[in-house]
Symmetry: C2
Subunit: 614 residues, 2 copies
C-alpha cells in the first residue's frame, strides 16, 4: 500500500508516528515564506500537512545548503495545484490551533523537505470548484461527473446509498429471502411502457428486450417454489423522459408465496422501518392505511403527503340525497363557473386571510400554469373581524360564504381557496395547490417522515382514446374476490364506475411513492381472461405470454409481492428529497443522454450490417 493510514483516521493517539498518506490536494496555503499548509483529502476525510519550508538542518550546514533546501521546498509548494494526487511521509504531531469540525482536527503531519512529498499524478485546474456548493452548472458537472463525485454531498449520497442497500439485504437475509438473479436479455412483451430492444447477431432479424421489471421471472420463481425472493436489480423503460426520470433505474424486487395482502404489507413495512433505523436511527411508527378512493378525495392524488392536513373539501352538490356533499352551497347563485363545473372543491389555508391582492394574483397565475391547468382561483377570506370576503362576492351573500366556511371548519384568519372544473383535472389541480400551499406555509417538514400504505387501487382504467381497458398496476394483478364476476361478465361495460378493485398497494413517504405491488393472479384461466379484458387477442396472448400461462398449469402457488424504486427510496431516506439524480453515480440527462460518455452515439456500418440493421 502506498499509505499507512487514510486521511480520516489520524488522532491524538497517533502522535509521534511516522505515517504515509495519499490523497488529493484540497488547498495549499503559504504563511509568509517559511511555512505552508496543505489540506490533503481522500474519501475518509482531510488531514492537514504542516510543511516547514525552511527545512531541518544541523548547525554546521552551509547557508548555501539551507538556501537551496528552502528553494526546492518553495518550488514544490508552488507547483502543487488543486487536485494533485500526492503521497506524503511525515510525523504526526499535535496541532497548535485545533479544528473541532473535523475528526482529524487535533493533529497534523509535519514535514520539512520536498522529499517527503511524491507527486503521484498532476491535475489541470478543475472546470468547477470541488466544494459543497460548486460554481459549476448542471451540464458541466455532468460532463465531468467524475469530478462532481468528488464533492462531499454527492460522495456522501453514494456512500449512504450503499448503506441503504446493506440494510435492505440485511433485512431480507434475516427473513429468509433468497437473492436470485433474473435475465436482462429477455423477450419484448410491451404492455404499458416501451421496451428497449437489443438486436441479436446470432439470430438475425430477432431481438431481445431489456426488462422493465423482473415481474414474470419472480412469478416463475414462485412457481418453482423459491417461496421468498428478492433482488436489487436494474430495470429499463424507454419512456419520453420527464424531469427526474431515468431510462435505467434500480428496483428492489420482492415476491412471497402463500401470502395474503396483509402479510406482504407487514413484511415490507418492516423493511422500510429497518432501513430508517439502520441509516438514520429513526423508529417509525406503524404505517397508516388509506384507500385509493380516500387519497383521491382528500388529497387529489394517489400518493398523499400526510405531513400536513389541509384536506380537500368537495363542494359539488351530489344529485343523490344520501351522498356526501349533497348540501348545495355553491350552485344556483348565478355564478356560471360553479353552476357548470363538474367538480367544485377547495382547501383551507390556515392563517392566510391576510394574503394580499398581489399574493392572490400570484397564486392565481400559479394555478393557471399549463402544468396545473385551472381556469381560475376562487377564494374566501375569513377576516380577523369575523367578516367574510370572497372573489365571488357579486353572487354570494355573507351567510352563504359562512356556510361554505363552516364546511371547511375554517375560523377567523383562514383563507379558503377554491377550484372548479372537470372532475379529474380539478381534483389533480387541488392536490397540487394543496402541496404548493404546504410549501409556502412551511408544512412540508424536512425532518418529518410520514409513511403510508395506499390500498384498494382500481384494477383497470378505461382509456377513452384507445377505447380499451388498461391495467392500472400491471396485467398480473389480481382483482378483489367480490369483483370476480365483473371480470367475466361486466367488462364489456365501457366505463370505470363499476370497474373492479385490485389487491394492489403502494407505499408512500411524504407524498413520494417509493414502492408498489399486488397479490398476483395464479390461475391460468383468470390470467387469460385478464388478457382478454385488456383487449389482447388469443394469438397475442399466446405469442407474448405463453410461458407464464403454461407455468400456471403446473401448480402455481398463491403469491404476491412488491417492488421499490431504490433510487427514490435512497433519496427519501438519505435526504428526504424527491430528486434521484444526485443518488446515482452516472445518471443520464433529460434527453436520456450520458453527456460524459457522449452516449448514445452512432455505431459503424460494419457493426450495423452484422446485426442485420442495414
Amino acid at each position: 500500500m502506498l499509505r499507512t493510514h487514510t486521511c480520516g483516521e489520524l488522532k491524538k493517539e497517533n502522535e509521534g508516528q511516522i505515517v504515509s498518506l495519499c490523497g488529493w490536494v484540497s488547498t495549499t496555503r503559504l504563511l509568509g515564506k517559511s511555512l505552508a499548509f496543505i489540506d490533503l483529502r481522500d474519501r475518509y476525510g482531510i488531514t492537514q500537512i504542516n510543511f516547514n519550508l525552511l527545512g531541518k538542518f544541523s548547525e554546521n550546514d552551509s547557508a548555501e545548503k539551507k538556501q537551496s533546501g528552502w528553494e526546492s521546498n518553495l518550488n514544490l509548494i508552488n507547483k502543487l495545484g488543486r487536485e494533485f494526487v500526492i503521497q506524503v511521509k511525515g510525523e504526526v504531531v499535535e496541532r497548535k490551533a485545533k479544528n473541532k469540525n473535523i475528526p482529524t482536527g487535533e493533529i497534523e503531519v509535519e514535514i520539512h523537505s520536498a522529499d517527503a512529498i511524491t507527486i503521484l499524478n498532476e491535475s489541470k485546474t478543475p472546470p468547477f470548484t470541488i466544494e459543497d456548493e460548486s460554481d459549476g452548472g448542471d451540464e458541466l458537472r455532468m460532463k465531468y461527473r467524475y469530478l462532481d463525485l468528488r464533492r462531499t454531498p454527492i460522495k456522501n449520497n453514494l456512500l449512504q446509498r450503499h448503506k441503504v442497500g446493506q440494510a435492505v439485504r440485511e433485512y431480507f437475509d434475516k427473513n429468509g429471502f433468497a437473492d436470485i438473479e433474473t435475465p436482462f436479455l429477455i423477450k419484448s412483451t410491451p404492455e404499458g411502457a416501451r421496451d428497449f430492444v437489443v438486436p441479436s447477431r446470432l439470430n438475425p432479424g430477432e431481438f431481445y428486450a431489456l426488462p422493465q421489471s423482473p415481474q414474470t421471472f419472480k412469478q416463475l420463481l414462485m412457481v418453482s417454489g423459491f417461496d421468498r425472493y428478492y433482488q436489487v436489480v436494474r430495470c429499463f423503460r424507454d419512456e419520453d423522459l420527464r424531469a427526474d426520470r431515468q431510462p435505467e433505474f434500480t428496483q428492489i424486487d420482492c415476491e412471497m408465496s402463500f401470502v395474503e395482502q396483509e402479510d406482504v404489507l407487514h413484511m415490507f413495512e418492516g423493511m422500510v422501518k429497518h432501513v430508517f433505523k439502520k441509516v438514520r436511527n429513526l423508529d417509525l411508527p406503524k404505517f397508516p392505511r388509506m384507500t385509493y378512493a380516500d387519497a383521491m378525495k382528500y388529497y387529489g392524488v394517489d400518493k398523499p403527503d400526510t405531513r400536513f392536513e389541509m384536506k380537500i373539501v368537495d363542494l359539488t352538490p351530489n344529485p343523490s340525497p344520501k351522498g356526501e356533499g349533497s348540501e348545495n352551497l355553491v350552485r344556483g347563485k348565478g355564478f356560471k363557473v360553479y353552476d357548470d363545473a363538474e367538480l367544485i372543491g377547495g382547501i383551507c389555508a390556515k392563517d392566510c386571510a391576510e394574503y394580499t391582492r398581489k399574493q392572490l394574483d400570484e397564486l392565481t397565475e400559479w394555478v393557471k400554469r399549463p402544468q396545473i391547468g385551472a381556469g381560475g382561483l376562487g377564494y374566501i377570506k375569513y377576516n380577523a373581524d369575523g367578516t367574510l370576503k370572497s372573489s365571488f362576492d357579486k353572487f354570494f351573500d355573507e351567510a352563504s360564504l359562512k356556510k361554505i366556511a363552516e364546511k371547511f371548519s375554517a375560523t377567523t384568519g383562514d383563507l379558503i381557496l377554491i377550484l372548479a372544473g372537470a372532475e379529474t383535472k380539478t381534483r389533480k389541480a387541488l392536490g397540487e395547490l394543496r402541496l404548493e400551499m404546504g410549501n409556502r406555509l412551511g408544512l412540508r417538514d424536512k425532518n418529518k417522515f410520514e409513511c403510508l400504505w395506499v390500498v384498494d387501487f382500481p384494477l383497470l382504467e378505461w382509456n377513452e382514446e384507445e377505447q380499451r381497458w388498461f391495467a392500472m398496476h400491471h396485467p398480473f394483478t389480481s382483482p378483489k374476490k367480490e369483483d370476480m364476476d365483473w371480470m367475466y361478465n361486466g367488462y364489456t361495460e365501457k366505463n370505470s364506475a363499476h370497474a373492479p378493485k385490485a389487491n394492489a398497494y403502494d407505499i408512500v413517504i411524504n407524498g413520494v411513492e417509493i414502492g408498489g405491488g399486488s397479490i398476483r393472479i395464479h390461475n391460468k384461466e383468470l390470467q387469460q381472461q385478464m388478457f382478454k379484458v385488456l383487449g389482447l387477442t388469443k394469438e397475442e396472448t399466446e405469442q407474448k405470454f405463453s410461458f407464464i400461462l403454461n407455468a400456471f398449469e403446473y401448480g402455481a402457488p398463491p403469491h404476491g409481492g412488491i417492488a421499490f424504486g431504490f433510487d427514490r427510496l435512497c433519496s427519501m431516506v438519505i435526504a428526504n428529497e424527491d430528486y434521484i439524480r444526485d443518488y446515482i453515480a452516472f445518471p443520464k440527462n433529460n434527453s436520456g443522454r450520458d453527456v460524459m460518455l457522449d452516449s448514445p452515439s452512432p455505431i459503424d456500418e460494419k457493426q450495423k450490417k452484422e446485426l442485420g440493421l442495414k
Copy 2:
C-alpha cells in the same frame, strides 16, 4: 399467511400442535383403502401427511355417514396429482416409522377428512419427473425451467449461490468497499469482444451499448476518490457462443486506489478464502504464485490444475548451450517427426506402463481429435522388468530411451507420452493430454481445492492475421516498469519475443480461471501511447475514450483491481465443477436463445419504425 409452518421445520417438540402447511404434492401413497400418505414439499423440506381415510366418527354416526365420509376422502386422494398445490390443516403426531434421512422424519401431520385439505392450485402431469435425477432431456428441462428449478440439486445450487453472494458482500463490507452501481446503457467502444447494442428511440440513428464490464466506470470511480469499490453486476458479451458461455454473465467487480499488485492479491485472496470458509467451512492455505511463463511451460495452459503434478517435460534441444533442454535426446536419430518438430514434449503417467495396445490407440485417437489437433502420440513404456519399449523403437535404442526416461524422472511401471509439432499448438495439446490423463487416473479430486495466482502475464499479443498488437487483458492494464521503454520505442518490432510483461494476474482454482485483474494505467500520456500501440488512430481514441483520457488529467490516483466470474466462482465453490448453467436461474442455450421465453424474437414493424430501424 396461508401456513403456520414450512414443510421443513416441524419436529418432535411440535407434537400435539394444530398446524397449517402449504406446498406441492410430491407423492401420494394409498395403503389399502383406509390410509394414505402425502409427501408435501416446499423450499424448506418435505413433511409427511398421514390421511386416515376412514375418518373420525362418533359411535352413533350412521354407517351411511361413515361411508360417505370415506368416499369423499378417497375421491380427494385420487384427485390429488403430483405437483398439486395444497394447504393442509392437521395435528402434528409422532411417526411410527421414523425417517432419519429428513429433518422432519420424526413426525407427521395427521388428518381425517377431505376438509383438512384445500387445493390451492391443480397441476398437469409435469413433462419430466421432479427428482434429483430427472428423466427430462436438456432442451425439455430448459423449456420448463420453472419446473426444473423445483428439483433439489438445482434449487440448492441457487440457494447456495445466494450464500456465496452474501459471503462476498460481507467481506467487502468488512473491508470498507462501497457498492456503487454503474450504468448499463453506455457507449459502444468495442476492443476485444463485440458489444450488444441498444437503439435509442429518442436519439434516432444512435445506439447505446451494454457493458462488457464496468471497467472504465470503476476507474472513473477511483478518479472520483471512492478508494474501494465493488459491485456484483451483470455484463454482456456478444460472442459466438461456445459450450457453457453465456451472452450475459455476472461479475464481481472490484477496484482499489493507492495499491500495488501485492495489495490487490492479498485483499482478494482473502475474499476467496472467506467465501470457502463461509460456504464450505474450509480453511484454504496461502495461495501459491506461478508466472505465466512457468504455467505455459509446465502445464501448457495459463490456468493450470495443480491438484496433481505430471508436469510437461520439454525435450526440444535448445540451440543455446546454456538453455534448459539443451541436451539433445531426440534429434538426429532418423525420426523425421522429431527432427522437424518445433516442440517435442511429454508427460509421465505414473503406473501406466501396462496400458494395452487398445488403450494406447484410443489415447492416440483422442489427441488426434480436431479439438486437440496433434499429429500422433509417441510413448515409452518403462516396464516392470526394467526394459523400455517405445512407439519409435525403430529409431531409438534402449540407452537413448533410458536417457529420456531419466529426464522425466520416470521409474519402472511408468508410461511416458510424447507429442511433437508446432510450438503453441503442441504446448496446448500437451496441457490437454495432461488433464485427460489426470481424469483417467482419478487425480482431479472433487474434494480438493488448489488455488493459485498466475502472475506476470504478457501485456500484448501479436496478431498475425490482423498484423497488430492486441491487449492480452485489456487496454487499461499497465506494463511493468522495466518494459516502459518498449512501449515508446520497441512496439514497432512485430513479434512477441520482447513484448512487455504486465502487472496482471489471474486467480485459478483447480484449472478453472475464476478471476483476473491488473494494476491500471493512470497516466494520460501512457494510456494514449497504449492506444497507439494497439493501432488506434488519434481520432478513434478521441471518439471512443476521450472521457477516460480527460479524467486522467484531473488527478487520477494509482489504482488496480480484479473481476471475478461470479457464475464460475459459484460452480467451483459449491460443487467443484466447471459448468455454470446449473447455477443460473434462467440461462440461455448454446445459440444464445432462451427456449422458455422463446427469445430473441421478431418485434413488430411499428416498434422498428419508432427505433429508426426501417
